[in-house]
Assembly symmetry: D2
């Protein structure tokens, strides 16, 4: 089927490739117009240089799929797209948008008769090869329209995809997925940190990862990736101890607080990312100052 894909970055670009391989007609737009050109050179993608142009190449009911940064860019793009669409057309937001935003946008577009689907898409840079796991929120009728596209993204026609609930449910589910991911990554990181601290055992952390990958209780894709990361440099010597975060972990903890759900492990994972980026923690300095005040404990004062 025909789809207009907006956003051809790391995620969008590979999704376009997967659709093209499956025989879909993909019209592609990216703010950086050279990106669409490059993809067009790879194969059959039809590059456009404006959103209106992309929409004009579709036939009713039109499907526009967004893979752009969450937040303002997504909102602005949806608004712009909706100007060119009409009743019964479908917009799919496949980015990591906040589900509360998606619920509001769905209401707004519904008033215009436009269908909105919020699709959580997991799989990262491996999605091209291994397929994507896709959780969609919205109305069933609209969902049915895009099933051919979904099936081509998924690992197989019958696995890794589904309509999980009404508007918002797709991005909510993806948010929770990422929250769990934070907790799992932190758990692995703590365990590996502990193993590398026991210098006397002189452990080969790549070997252990490989052993665990087969039949252990903690076997998982993240463990597969750890093994890959450690293959050539167990010391991770070229990497700085600095972890970014893209927002889904924060939302998960915020939502947990809203719903009275304890989330100490996910919160711990989030806070450690903050800690990793602190270069001169006021908290640490204040505790050091308190210890000095009551106990006369020496503070480190040279920097």
């Amino acid at each position: 089927m025909k789809v207009f894909l907006i956003g051809l970055g790391k995620m969008g670009g590979n999704m376009a490739r997967r659709w093209l391989l499956a025989g879909h007609d993909v019209i592609g737009y990216d703010r950086d117009t050279t990106v669409a050109e490059k993809l067009a050179n790879e194969g059959r993608l039809i590059p456009v240089t404006s959103i209106a142009d992309g929409v004009s190449k579709l036939s009713k009911p039109r499907v526009v799929w967004l893979m752009v940064p969450a937040g303002k860019v997504t909102e602005d793009t949806i608004f712009q797209v909706s100007q060119s669409l009409s009743k019964d057309d479908v917009i799919v937001d496949g980015g990591n948008s906040n589900f509360n935003d998606s619920m509001r946008i769905a209401r707004e577009l519904t008033e215009k008769g436009i269908h909105f689907l919020d699709a959580g898409v997991s799989g990262g840079v491996w999605g091209l090869k291994e397929g994507y796991s896709i959780m969609v929120g919205g109305e069933e009728a609209a969902f049915k329209t895009i099933i051919p596209l979904i099936k081509s993204l998924a690992p197989s026609e019958t696995t890794g995809w589904g309509l999980v609930g009404p508007s918002g449910a797709g991005h909510f589910t993806k948010m929770v997925h990422n929250g769990i991911e934070y907790g799992m990554m932190e758990a692995f990181a703590e365990g590996y940190d502990l193993m590398q601290s026991r210098k006397d055992f002189d452990l080969d952390l790549h070997q252990i990862s490989e052993i665990w990958r087969h039949s252990s209780v903690i076997r998982s894709w993240l463990l597969d990736l750890i093994s890959l990361a450690l293959e050539n440099d167990q010391e991770l010597s070229h990497i700085q101890p600095w972890i970014s975060d893209s927002g889904e972990g924060r939302w998960t903890v915020n939502e947990a607080i809203k719903q009275d759900v304890p989330a100490p492990a996910i919160a711990a994972a989030l806070f450690r990312r903050f800690d990793s980026r602190e270069e001169n923690s006021y908290a640490y300095r204040l505790i050091s100052a308190m210890r000095n005040q009551f106990g006369g404990h020496t503070m480190k004062t040279e920097k």
Copy 2:
């Protein structure tokens, strides 16, 4: 090859079956002698009713493998076995023993010329079918002796097993494995708790688990098991909110503290298990009492 297996419970019993299938000669002992009889009836296992009898059926170098509860039972059994063994024989402790104990025991047995291997074995009740992940600590020479046994337990001859370091390293690695497992389970539990709390989305948690199992970043064996657990009863209505712990989580946090390694997610997982078993938390009551003292806040006082 020939092996004398002591302890034929959930883990030991299935390991015996796997060895027998692979053609090894397994002599089996369990404190409950009917267990060895039952296994003998299934196939070729040779049941014995005493440890001395089991050892007498081996030929040099003798290999005795223990799958008994960690702690006193393991120590007593090792002592008893070592009385019947002589120079160059091998004792393998495949249980979840504390690695510090294993290091001490290895030293003691080495003085008697007996080899000791500490083997972390992961895989649970699924090990019979899917094989076990095995991390061994000890001397290479002794390890080589038992490689045929290890290969038959592992998922394949080339995967899921290895000598990871000197004495203690096997149980240390298994301890860390289980610590990571605690953190992962807690992360999943928090995420699922959050999903079930959003009643308005009316999510099908089994469906979502199935979607995630394919190509998502959090795909893992634990997720496969969650999906199985939710298949027929998403409400988990027959299960009590009470979680046991077998010790490895505690040891992991204790060791992290000893090594100055932050382990907040694993510690959170451990503390929640404690919380799950508290019926009348003094901490909660004291906080409630404080709130009443300073703010006149109503306490729940009827039970």
Copy 3:
């Protein structure tokens, strides 16, 4: 000076008493009109039965002080009050409002020429006797108007009060105060829980509290209150292990997340309150189910 106080509950009632003792003229309104009557009977408070009536009894510049529940009630009351006020009048919100709301309300009232002050008031039911700690946000000119009232609430004319910043800063500071309070209460609760768990020491927790109250590093008002709470019943036998929360702890963690500030201890305190109110935690049941799936571990299934 003259003040119209709206909300005569646990906090407001005692503040009225303190103002009356200091010689201020207090006009009092409460939705439950019998409350104002009762206070009037105690002394010189002038009860009114409507907000408009209360305002009419003031002279310019009028000062209206709110001590009503945060959220909708506060917003509605401020709106209603503002209808009766005019340029240069002052509204003080002394409740536990969210500082973001206070910042918005200040902007809205400023457009009407009405001054708005957000006052964090700490001290609880002991404030009548010991005075209140007061942090105010807003413009200095408006603040100066109410200094006589503030001084009478404070423990002394020179201590325990101040203008801490622009609009929002008062409630922000009070929010952080309460967040710290959560963490301190949790720390005490954990320590006392640990002491009562060592039955072999047969500790007298009231005696220990009294020892600590004098010259120890952890001496504090919360410790004084613990000592009071334990005086007659160390077992806290009549109290249920159930802790309420009024919102400030949640806001603190949410704000910490927004500002990239790690707050693991305050978050832990918050999550334990959630845990205290869970009667049938899905998280705990799911972990129990996972353990059963992989290890065949027995679950508690009878309720």
Copy 4:
């Protein structure tokens, strides 16, 4: 009364001064003999250059009080002292020893007829002026012997001291005290970190500390000290974000784990101290590597 004090450091030196002021006869020994000389020059302290010499200056029943570093130094010193003592003499360990060690030592000394008291002493460098909070474990008869010394250390004859239980109970109680202290310090640090992060409010953290010190719920000695620390340099600009730990926090968490008591806030405080000392966290680097593996997220790789 007469007492032989071993260890004249920050704690011991001030305790000697307090005893001398109260009229006791203090014989003093420190490994650095100039320290005892210096104290002798201040007043009536009798300096000795060996433990045997100090003991010889006492009369029966002799009281020897230790204020030396916990662990090996304390054990060695107790052993040495006990060689010079005889039946009914009393050794007091006023250091921060592990209560398990104190329980063992008490048993060993009891066999020799020597009394052992484990005294938790809190108050830090302020103890000279404000007195010390003292929790003692051991037999009542021995405790009675040293009450005159205890009363002189305490803030007053009737406050801040007591026999809290059998051997070990004094150091156990002090350990819990310090564990609570960790949690309180972390709670304050998180709150102040959050306040300093809101640059737009331009808060005066010293002013706020002073407001809170009077009548707020979180008023406490630690808050008094924070106020002192911030008085001249709110930025704490000369202090490094590096926090030491002396062992009691670790023991508290270890003991909590042993007793199945959840201690997430105290554990969080402990782990953040570890984090503060990590210069190149392997955990952080591994998480960064995982993110790069699955999502192609950029890692910081320059150092």
